[in-house]
């Protein structure tokens, strides 16, 4: 049963859910964009602040496990959500449809993500995943009157549902073999089964779960939706997809791999290695000549998740630490890049300004924005003195420590290919010839908040690149607690 301690332990989740309800009630009462946004930001900030309290009680609510991974996921999720919520008002200022519902969907998705990273039971995993995904359908198709947003929504819905079906079927297979749904119990039940040799049914179940989660992570060959949805969805929705959804799903995959023995088989590791390899190479190759920035970042996310999968393949505490560090740096850089896209596309007016020519000569129009973009791209490319390098360093270190030379080779090759398009985008920002005229941005509080957030992100990218010690220490501590 749920005790009070458990409730305290779940405080962030509760606060976010409560904020969601408040926002919903608020909307029914009176539409007020700034107010809703403020409420959302406040709720998320409150949830973030309640974390020390929640962590201190060391609760273990049913179906969940509040360990280091969960905390890692919670912090990253809440922080990204906070940044997104802070940058969205400026973007949504010009949206002619209902603006406030976006925050509601965002909060619901965050709730799902928080549950997902803490889940310790198949049912919890399933519910949370869906709670994360369903609002995303809405967010991606938020601008459903424009063709691309609708297209993105439909594609994401159909394919995601299919992936969910795979996931469910995989769970069902595991359940049928063991009769257990809780991760820990699954592990206990599977251990004797494993001693009798490999079980194709069980492995099949595990494979299907990996496929289901791999879809959300846009691992090759389940990646095809990614660029279309990234491009079609409104920028904040894409950002949620790229950060919160990815990190939460990744962490749950990591936990599964760590806890459930069926996932520990060498065969599955080899499979994931293979998927990782083709993702990191394929994702980068796909992005090579892409001219739409959002699409390009979609492809690049395929590659990045490919790198990250190395942390899943390799066992040991270092892998959790690596995941944490890499996710952190990746999320920060992605927030920066999409943040700039959102800023340039603000106020919302039809399609997002995501074509490369929109960014031509950005440095000479708004140097700070271009600087943030440059930093983000350098970070994504893993150039030293940015956060991304620390992440890449960890990934390579992990691969080397475990002598996974092929994967390390993949990282090197992928990075080399990746540089091409990151540099291409980067230099566009500095070209002297002016590109398309930017939109007339509306001065005001929303814009200032958005800019401030971007500044914080940029500083963070640099800071993490130059002095990553606090992050590393924190992640190492979390990894020990996992």
């Amino acid at each position: 049963m749920l005790t009070l301690t458990d409730l305290v332990g779940l405080l962030p989740l509760v606060i976010v859910a409560a904020t969601a309800i408040l926002v919903m009630l608020g909307i029914t009462w009176q539409r007020h964009h700034s107010g809703t946004a403020a409420l959302t930001v406040g709720g998320l900030a409150l949830a973030l602040m309640s974390l020390p309290l929640a962590w201190a009680v060391s609760a273990s609510p049913p179906l969940m496990m509040l360990d280091g991974i969960a905390l890692m996921g919670t912090v990253l999720t809440l922080a990204s959500a906070l940044a997104i919520a802070a940058m969205s008002p400026h973007y949504l200022t010009g949206y002619t449809g209902p603006q406030e519902e976006f925050y509601l969907l965002l909060l619901c998705a965050v709730t799902g993500a928080l549950g997902l990273v803490a889940s310790n039971h198949m049912a919890m995993l399933f519910i949370s995943l869906e709670l994360l995904s369903m609002p995303l359908y809405g967010m991606v198709a938020y601008r459903f009157r424009t063709e691309r947003s609708l297209e993105a929504g439909i594609k994401y819905l159909v394919l995601s549902a299919a992936a969910t079906a795979f996931l469910l079927f995989g769970m069902a297979l595991l359940y049928a073999r063991t009769g257990q749904l809780e991760f820990g119990a699954l592990s206990a039940a599977l251990t004797p089964a494993l001693t009798g040799g490999p079980d194709p049914w069980m492995l099949g179940g595990a494979v299907l779960i990996v496929v289901g989660l791999g879809f959300k992570l846009s691992i090759m060959p389940f990646h095809l939706w990614t660029p279309d949805v990234y491009q079609g969805g409104i920028a904040p929705a894409t950002l949620v997809l790229a950060t919160i959804s990815k990190l939460a799903v990744f962490l749950v995959l990591l936990r599964l791999m760590m806890v459930v023995p069926a996932f520990e088989s060498e065969w599955l590791r080899n499979l994931i290695s293979l998927l990782a390899f083709i993702s990191m190479v394929g994702g980068n190759l796909l992005a090579l000549f892409q001219l739409n920035l959002k699409r390009l970042l979609g492809y690049s996310s395929i590659a990045h998740l490919g790198y990250l999968l190395i942390a899943v393949v390799v066992e040991g505490p270092l892998s959790v630490e690596t995941s944490g560090v890499y996710l952190f740096t990746y999320v920060v850089a992605t927030l920066g890049a999409f943040g700039v896209i959102m800023h340039v596309s603000s106020p919302h007016h039809g399609e997002d300004a995501a074509d490369l020519h929109h960014y031509r000569g950005l440095f000479w129009r708004s140097p700070w924005l271009a600087a943030v973009m440059t930093l983000s791209l350098l970070s994504l490319a893993g150039i030293p003195l940015t956060a991304g390098f620390i992440g890449k360093f960890y990934i390579i270190a992990l691969g080397v420590a475990d002598s996974r030379w092929w994967l390390v080779g993949g990282v090197v090759a992928g990075s080399a290919v990746g540089l091409f398009y990151y540099l291409r985008v980067m230099v566009t920002l500095y070209l002297p010839e002016p590109g398309s005229q930017p939109r007339e941005s509306i001065e005001g509080r929303h814009k200032r908040v958005g800019e401030l957030t971007l500044m914080v992100i940029a500083v963070l990218i640099l800071l993490l690149g130059i002095y990553p010690v606090p992050m590393i220490d924190w992640m190492a501590a979390l990894a020990r607690a996992a």
Binding site: I396, A416, L419, V427, Y430, P432
Partner: protein, 510 residues
Amino acid sequence: MILLWLILIPFFGGLLCWQAERWGQQAPRWIALGTMLLVLAASLVLWIGGDFSPPGVSESPWLLEWRVPWIPRFGIEIHLAMDGLSLILVALAGLLGALAVLCSWNEIVERVGFFHLNLLFIMSGVVGVFLALDLFLFFLFWEAMLVPMYFLIALWGHSGSPGQTRIRAATRFFIYTQASGLLMLVAILALVFVNYSNTGVMTFSYNALLNANVPDGLAFWLMLGFFIAFAVKLPVVPFHGWLPDAHAQAPTAGSVDLAGILLKTAAYGILRFAIPLFPEQSQAFAPVAMTLGLVGIFYGAILACGQQDIKRLIAYTSISHMGFVLIALYAGSELAMQGAIVIMVAHAFSSAGLFILSGQLYERIKTRDMRLMGGLWGRIPTLPGLTLFFVAASLGMPATANFIGEFMVLFGTFDNAPEVVIIASAGLVLAAIYSLLMMQRVHFGGEYSQGRLAGPDAREYAMMLLLIGLTLAVGLYPQPLLDTTASMVQPVVALFTDSAGLAAQAEEVE
């Protein structure tokens, strides 16, 4: 602490330049010049005050050392140290940095502040490379200097021949170096982890890793990882593809930095890291490296002869010259290694001189295509004569530093690898061919077009005189330079030859 400042001064100077643009076009130039001269002066003061005699057993081999923990999780430190070699190269960087600022005085008129920001950031990175003793830190600087160089080429480059845009050249440069750098990172990490599993201490410290006991098979691959990274930057054929494009498209200052200093970081890396960390493997690898060096000498020379773009020609000659350096580094004799250092310095002077001259030529006739030149001797005062000097230096005329370097290399190598020297000596003829060919096409022959052109102004003349003076000084009295680096080179040679002895013993035992 002064070491840290050597890195930070250009860094902050760069930021200042960027902001100084609002005070006018000249401000960034003066600030950048002052910054570079400050670095140069600091290193010269250190040089004059330094004691470069070989250290005693218990003494530190470093002239200056500065270390603070950085990322304790991996035992990463900010560990800077300076010995004779790094000092020479830092001073060189300061000098060429100042020249780079000077030679772009009139060339760069757009976005001056940002240009100098990049120029100074490159210096910062280069100085960092020469001073870093922690492998992580070294790698960091190694990669960090790419970004400003990329911008320098991509934003201020010449729009060269059709189909070869400057952005493409810059990207190619970046990808080549970064990808190979990642290989080095992999090798560094593998080395660190091997050391960790042996000793239980996670550290990136150079001194600690020198004693890492790496299994033989793995060590070879790790050595290769280091070598490839350095080979790309040196550059060694077949990894040279980025160089001609980058040079041809870069602004003069970029070419000066690239040829003068950036290429030297590779030789420095081999000397400092690749050989001392893996002496036995390097010894085993020496024949291959020397062969690559030979290939480089000839390939670079042959291609240099076929170029029409004057800067491409000079770029290919760099490949040829660096072939000598590569041979020397793996020759395993003090004479040769010292010779390599002299070549590094000499090549910095002569290639910088040639690049600056071709920049000046470009300012006057607005082309780098040698088919559109000819007969310039009669049209421009003084400039052709200066060119002839650097051409002579480039072909290894005695009394220039290049001669001393090349001949020390050849003398030093002859004992161990006479066949290499015999083949490499043919490179001397080729050097004469490509160097004079350039003279021939640009300055001699019939005049392509009419009209007299302005001779060098005081700034240009002073730069050239400085370089000529230095080339001759090193050519006639290189001993101060050699004395400075001797205490660094001798241990490396000892490591190298000892491992050769060990290998020979092992074979005898078998």
